[in-house]
């Protein structure tokens, strides 16, 4: 089915993605401007290249899908920081759960309301409703509220990038005193991309973020069947 040439082309895109990412991470570490973030530059370059050369996504993804396959094991890896900081969860389960419930309610209600405000089609609205949770959860929750899993996944990642930038900016002038509030802000609003940002800012903030990200995902998957008739 896949000829050696197709395999080589697929490998080319995979290697190009990894090399671009490594190069941009190096640049970003030296000049930490948000526009130089690998999550902005790498997709921008690749999307422009694919569109210019008229390369179909299937050709790009034939080998690059191994990268997104690593999202699963990466989710499992969160078990280690959770284990390390389990005392925080035991001690502060109340504020964290409260924050997650408030955050998820605001996420769903504001998304549906804003989509209607700007007149987006209902199919997009339903795919967007679950977007502030992590990709593996969104793929499960989106069809339950009548959304499309792959559009939901794209919106999830765009949300992560937006959250990464907005979060740092908001925390610049919000003055939230506790690491609990700062971490939860990233975890509920911007899932794993936000958690990676929080982790880079402060390991403890990253742990809070991953805990709230997981709580949000679980809550949304459990609530999605109940939400469906309301949206």
């Amino acid at each position: 089915m896949a000829s050696p040439v197709d395999l080589l082309i697929g490998l080319f895109w995979l290697v190009l993605t990894v090399l671009l990412y490594a190069a941009m991470r190096h640049v970003h570490q030296r000049r930490p401007h948000f526009l130089l973030s690998p999550m902005i530059v790498v997709p921008a370059i690749l999307i422009a290249t694919l569109l210019l050369l008229r390369v179909p996504y299937a050709s790009y993804a034939s080998q690059s899908h191994w990268l997104s396959a690593m999202l699963g094991p990466a989710t499992v890896a969160f078990a280690i920081p959770i284990f390390d900081y389990r005392q925080i969860m035991r001690r502060h389960w109340l504020p964290l759960s409260f924050g997650v419930v408030v955050g998820m309610s605001v996420a769903v209600v504001s998304t549906v309301w804003l989509c209607r405000l700007v007149g987006l089609p209902e199919a997009i609205e339903r795919s967007m409703a679950v977007r502030s949770i992590s990709t593996p959860f969104a793929i499960i929750a989106a069809p339950q509220v009548g959304g499309q899993a792959d559009i939901a996944a794209i919106c999830v990642v765009i949300t992560g990038i937006v959250g990464m930038l907005l979060g740092e900016w908001l925390l610049g002038w919000l003055r939230l005193d506790t690491v609990l509030a700062r971490g939860a802000l990233f975890g509920t609003a911007a899932h794993a991309v936000g958690t990676a940002t929080a982790h880079r800012r402060d390991p403890e903030e990253g742990v809070i973020s991953s805990l709230t990200m997981i709580l949000s995902g679980v809550l949304m998957v459990l609530l999605a069947p109940l939400l469906a008739p309301l949206i």
Binding site: T17, P38, M39, V42, P43, L46, I47, L50, L51, Y60, A61, S64, L67, M70, L71, G72, P73, A74, T75, V76, A77, A79, I80, F83, I88, H92, P95, L96, F98, G99, V100, V102, V106, S110, L114, L120, I124, M128, R131, P136, F137, I154, C155, V157, I158, V162, G167, L174, T178, V179, L180, A181, A184, L185, T188, A189, A190, A196, E204, G217
Partner: protein
């Protein structure tokens, strides 16, 4: 980890960087094995539990039981978490599949995401801050020690 370094015969000794690389790789392999087990479980036994959640639960359970030592996976997990943004790249690239959708509605979608994300962040941040203050006050009234001020 320390023990194996001491007991290894000289002929087997590699440079520290190479040894660290192989160890991280093996640990990532172990995490992938847990992930595969979790995927199998969620497909065959627990259809409503996403594999990610099942995997975290398995890893936490094994560590709590002492069957999985933290050091066996810590380096691999740290690497996966550090490079996680890379794994998201192909997902974003998928927008090229929907040129019409994002051409027509792209700006509106971005607007909704930016405003909604800002609202979620503000609401969550203040909700946690408020609940934490209440918790602190409640613990103090209980006569308990509310020293656990994080951050």
């Amino acid at each position: 980890m320390q023990l194996s370094r001491v007991s290894k015969p000289p002929a087997m000794s590699f440079s520290p960087a190479l040894r660290r690389f192989v160890r991280t790789l093996a640990q990532v392999g172990l995490i992938i094995a847990i992930w595969l087990l979790a995927t199998w479980l969620s497909q065959h036994l627990l259809p409503n539990v996403p594999p990610g959640i099942a995997g975290i639960a398995i890893a936490l359970g094994l560590m709590a039981l002492g069957l999985l030592r933290r050091e066996w996976v810590a380096d691999g997990a740290a690497w996966l978490l550090r490079e996680m943004l890379l794994f998201f790249v192909p997902v974003v690239i998928a927008v090229v599949q929907y040129p019409a959708l994002f051409h027509q509605h792209g700006l509106a979608i971005l607007f909704v995401i930016v405003v909604s994300t800002a609202l979620v962040m503000l609401a969550t941040g203040f909700a946690v801050d408020l609940a934490w203050r209440l918790e602190k006050r409640w613990l103090r009234r209980q006569g308990g020690d509310a020293d656990g001020e994080p951050g």
